[in-house]
Amino acid sequence: MPGFDTRMLAKHGGLIALAVLLLINIAITPNFLQLQTLFVNISQVATIAIVAVGMTLVIATAGIDLSVGAVMAVAGALAPLIFLSEFAQAYPTLGLAASIIVPILVALLCGLFNGVLVAYLGVQPIIATLIFFISGRGIAQVLTNGNLQTFAHPGFSYIGTGKILGLPFQGWLVVVIAIVFWYIVNRTLFGRRILAVGGNERAAKLTGTPVRRVKTGVYVISAGLSGIAGLIVVAINSASDAARIGNLMELDAIASAVVGGTLLMGGKAPIFGAVLGAVIIQLVKYTLLANGVADEVALIAKAGIIVLAVYVQQGRKE
């Protein structure tokens, strides 16, 4: 049966890669088998995973979203502005709610901007989102006047540091988000339409799919999830640095999605695959760091691992 092995490998490539990484770590990384290692990795992977889920949906429509990091910066810059404002000092609960809801709403608007550019003005996704990639971080810095905003706000910090049943809050958030979007992709009309648009846009159009709305939708979702990720980063750090939040996130998220089995030409949206991809990438980072591999060598190693992981994942088809 030629082809059988490679197909198996392709199907479970991600899991195999994860298993290999775990085994390597157990063998060489000091104190790897500790609960704290798990916590550290969960809290570090959460933002990548959340953004990767949105990215997966965008890529499923044959798009790409380079603006995720910039959206994180905008949302992350807004939150402290709100809860440090006089209004929030006066009404703490309302202020806290607003500092979570408003940034996410603004993020959704950013996504709407991307979506309209792509879907209604026909701008190619990489360029449409490049616009916000360039200017979004600038906007975030304009909002904060370039200042680092630091704060001590236990209520808000819960998003980043809280625990439920002993596991970090953002870990649970990832699980919930992944399940929700898995359901959307596999069980709902909208999900099926995402795949149809990515699989063959003209056919989708002919079968009555509101192609533009679907496309706009995925960019809005991606931006919304990025907004949430931005809030988490700010909450963990108790500081918001518009210049840095979400820096290079787009590359991590895209790599996660692809390592997780998403096809860049669209038509596939393996949500759990993307989360798995994020976990793999996180674990690679962790392994290199914990074993003291020099930064420049780590870059080369990471490059090799990404190529290998995707190679295994893609399988070979005729």
């Binding site: 990384t29 000091p30 104190n31 790897f32 500790q34 704290q36 290692t37 550290v40 809290s43 570090q44 810095q141 370039g146 200042n147 680092l148 630091t150 540091t161 980063v233 963990i236 750090n237 108790s238 500081a239 640095d241 210049a243 840095r244 939040i245 820096n247 980072k285 962790y286 760091l289 914990a290 074993n291 003291g292 930064d295 420049e296």
Partner: protein
């Protein structure tokens, strides 16, 4: 000989900032803007967004605009030499600010007037000396959080610290990884290194932002920064001073971004024909428990 500077009522002054992605740089730029009014400058400020090549192009465009004097914090030691040379060729006196250029090629008093700034190696050295003096245990297990890989402050702060701390054999550096001068990265790297090296009791960060990130990582892991782990770094930001006051951090060596007033002063002297030393050293203070509270209000 660097070109002379005429005495004028108002000067067209070029300031070519290298990047604006951290509070330190932003404070520095702001200091130049704040000085402009008082010092009678028409300030042209550019931003090279972290690219040495763009910084040269920025300087070029300021030369084209006919500036009288150039203040340049060179992003890199060697790649900015052409900018210095071109300014000289165009008859524009240049002052290097906060970082210098390769002394083998371009020399103060010859290609440019002077370098205003502190010594990164010395900063690292002073941190090391403070640690040697103040560390109370028998064995110092050190984790070092480096700045952006390959950048000159990262290289210099590393060698200044490493060379000196290792002279005392109580100390050992078990891990040294980049945190990219950023708080979030610093935290993540510290979280990871803490797992691999739970016995660490000293953290040396190349800037305060990473130090604060490291403190957060320590606290999240249930450690007590300041008690069982000594955190030391460089910069003197407000957050760092607060951390020192709160007892979470041991020391931060100042690396002040407020170059505007100094620039104004030195430029005035130069225009008046006074001789300027090749290196106008900035006296970096050192902030500890003793003086942090006194200075926190001037910090940025």
């Amino acid at each position: 000989e660097p070109p002379p500077l005429a005495q004028k009522e108002r000067y067209k002054v070029g300031f070519s900032q290298m990047e604006s992605n951290n509070p330190w740089r932003i404070a520095e730029t702001k200091s130049f803007h704040d000085t402009a009014e008082a010092c009678n400058w028409d300030l042209i400020a550019t931003d090279a967004a972290g690219s040495a090549a763009k910084q040269v192009a920025d300087v070029d465009s300021m030369i084209a605009q006919g500036i009288d004097v150039l203040f340049l914090p060179p992003r890199e030691e060697k790649p900015l030499i052409p900018a210095v040379m071109k300014a000289q060729a165009a008859g524009i006196p240049t002052f290097l600010v906060d970082r210098s250029v390769d002394p083998n090629v371009a020399k103060a008093g010859e290609h440019y007037v002077s370098f205003l700034g502190s010594d990164f190696i010395d900063q690292g050295k002073r941190v090391a000396e403070w640690v040697i003096e103040n560390f109370e245990g028998d064995k110092g297990i050190i984790v070092e959080l480096e700045g952006t890989t390959g950048s000159s402050p990262a290289n210099d702060r590393k060698s200044g610290f490493d060379d000196n701390i290792l002279k005392d054999d109580r100390f050992e550096i078990v891990a040294s990884q980049t945190g990219d001068f950023a708080r979030d990265m610093g935290r993540q790297v510290m979280e990871t290194l803490l797992q691999a090296h739970p016995d660490v009791n000293i953290v040396y960060a190349h800037n305060d932002e990473m130090a604060i990130g490291a403190i957060q990582a320590l606290e999240l892991a249930g450690r007590k920064p300041g008690e069982d782990v000594l955190v030391v770094s460089i910069d003197g930001t407000r957050d760092a001073l607060q951390a020192i006051i709160d007892g979470k951090m041991g020391v931060t060596v100042e690396s002040s971004p407020f170059f505007g007033p100094l620039a104004c002063e030195i430029m005035g002297k130069y225009a008046a024909g006074e001789s300027i030393p090749p290196w106008v050293k900035v006296e970096d203070r050192i902030f500890t428990k003793e003086n942090a509270a006194d200075h926190i209000d001037e910090a940025y």
